[in-house]
Amino acid sequence: MPFLTPLEAEAFSLSLRIGVWSAVLSLPPALAVAWVLARGRFRGRTLLSAIVHLPLVLPPVVTGYALLLLFGRHGPIGAWLDSWFGFTFAFRWTGAALAAGVMGFPLVVRALQLSIEAVEPGLEQAASTLGARPIMVFLTVTLPLIVPGLLAGLLLGFAKSLGEFGATITFVSNIPGETRTLPIAIYTLLQVPGTDAAVLRLSALSVAVSVVAVFGSELVARRLRRRTAGA
């Protein structure tokens, strides 16, 4: 990209990579939680819902600190992953993706839960009377009917990730080329006098990516909805 300096281009591509990974990887667990919240009837339902929504209301710094405690090199999960799989989140772009995924999780769950709740339970019942096991009911009826919701969730996760700042900088710091995403790059530039043009360029880039993502997914979702409506 000719109008970006190499450092800026690096922040941009890093943000995209983190956004895609966090959105894609948070989708399956979000789907499982959304299904449980939408269809399950059990005691701890409200509690589970509260826990899932926690990152939405906590200060992002606190979420980032919690991630550091759990997934840091000396945290219980971080140390385990490191010793068994040689995999680290701490101060790596993978950690930034984890932070973004956790912060976006409630939004993704919400989008999926709403679309699962919109699926007529009678259809799932009909499928079960026709011989489909619960998992097959989900795969052949529920899942195809919530594809627009999946797309919306994917987009929300991606968009949230692009804007994530507080938890990321707390958990994985501000390392150029590794964890310096677009918002962190903008923040860093703002600390230095005479970088107004660069700040503007990166801000405009953020706006452009978000707008493209929102419109694109809206377009696809509309087409899919029309197909299942069968018009």
Partner: protein, 358 residues
């Protein structure tokens, strides 16, 4: 096929406690909306868990709460047709039809798609999406989908209730064909007397969560029971005899005699069921002369029962067929009616469905 049901469940403001059984054929669960009929259908399908009780189909225990047995819906092989169709909107008609057959491939007694498509007349719809079908077409596809899974019992929960009269008339003949050609046992939930009379062999009348009467349809429907809220009528299985083209009339033959009715589209040799309501039957003690009524049948009074503050219900034996009549108590006293008395039944009107049967 045998079906034994003995279940109870309570929900806030509603208690269901029913027991009935069926040797096969079409068993109608009949009663007003809210009586609990649909809950029973849900329990049979496995979608509702009863608090107590048992369900046994062909000797296999599907539910026995005291023994901790509850077979989940997908392992029951009980086909369900719902009031609202419930076709899968993301699948074509063909995919909808084959959905259950696909899961049942190991138990391969599902009828081939061709037969079912022909039986239900849905060949032209196969590549369409459910959203583009009319209400009547949707229900025919829903019936086909349930049949193609190879069920041992078909449960139809008010399958026609959401349709207008014309659409009902469109589907009833298919249900009759289904009953006559497949001999598949069915439980048919309905609040419509006409549907029940046309389709059912046995009737289970449900009211406020309880069975108020049950038995063969001709017997149950001819009972005078003021609490049941249903009007008594005789149900006759008849065969069309000769057709008098000059007067546009047809003769219907049954065990107790003959009836003459407008021929309409009836064809000689056709078999159909008809219904004669109690209030459409008048009584004469001698053979009346100079009357415009065509259908006058000799009968014997079997029993008499009060059928309201001013009315008297009569059950008549007409050559082995039960007829019912409702007259005023005053008339009953004036004519000196009593069980055993020979009378003539004057039938003012016969109702049956002309578009029905082939």
């Amino acid at each position: 096929m045998s079906l034994q049901v003995e279940i109870s469940l309570s929900r806030p403001g509603f208690t269901l406690e029913v027991a009935f059984d069926s040797p096969g054929g079409v068993t109608a669960l009949f009663g007003r909306s809210g009586a609990g009929k649909s809950t029973i259908a849900g329990v049979l399908a496995g979608l509702v868990k009863p608090d107590r009780g048992r369900i046994i189909v062909d000797g296999q225990v599907l539910v026995d709460r005291s023994a901790g047995i509850f077979v989940p819906p997908h392992r029951r092989r009980i086909g369900s047709v719902f009031q609202d169709g419930r076709l899968f909107p993301h699948l074509s008609v063909r995919q909808n039809l084959l959905y259950g057959a696909w899961f049942a491939r190991s138990q391969a007694n599902g009828k081939p798609l061709r037969d079912i498509v022909e039986l239900l007349g849905i060949g032209a719809l196969l590549d369409r999406r459910p959203a583009t079908l009319s209400g009547g077409e949707k229900q025919r596809v829903a019936i086909g989908r349930a049949l193609l899974m190879g069920p041992r019992l078909l449960v139809l929960d008010e399958p026609l209730a959401a349709l207008d009269q014309a659409r009902k008339e469109e589907i009833l003949p298919y249900l009759e064909r289904l009953r006559d050609e497949t001999r598949l046992p069915m439980v048919y939930v309905s609040h419509s007397r006409d549907e029940v009379v046309r389709l059912a062999d046995r009737l289970v009348v449900i009211e406020a969560g309880r069975v108020v009467s049950s038995g063969p349809i001709a017997e149950v429907s001819s009972r005078f029971d003021p609490t049941s809220g249903t009007e008594p009528s005789a149900v006759l299985a008849v065969t069309v005899g000769t057709i008098d083209r000059a007067h546009g009339l047809a003769t219907l033959e049954f065990a107790g005699g003959r009836l003459t009715v407008p021929a309409g589209r009836l064809v000689a040799g056709q078999r159909l069921r008809l219904q004669i309501r109690a209030r459409d039957v008048a009584i004469a003690t001698g053979r009346p002369e100079g009357l415009s009524i065509l259908n006058i049948l000799p009968a014997t009074v079997l029993e008499m029962a009060a059928a309201g503050p001013t009315a008297m219900g009569l059950r008549l034996d007409c050559g082995g067929t039960i007829l019912v009549a409702q007259i005023t108590r005053l008339s009953a006293e004036a004519l000196g009616l009593a069980p055993g008395r020979a009378v003539h039944a004057l039938i003012k009107s016969v109702s049956f469905d002309r578009s029905g049967a082939e």
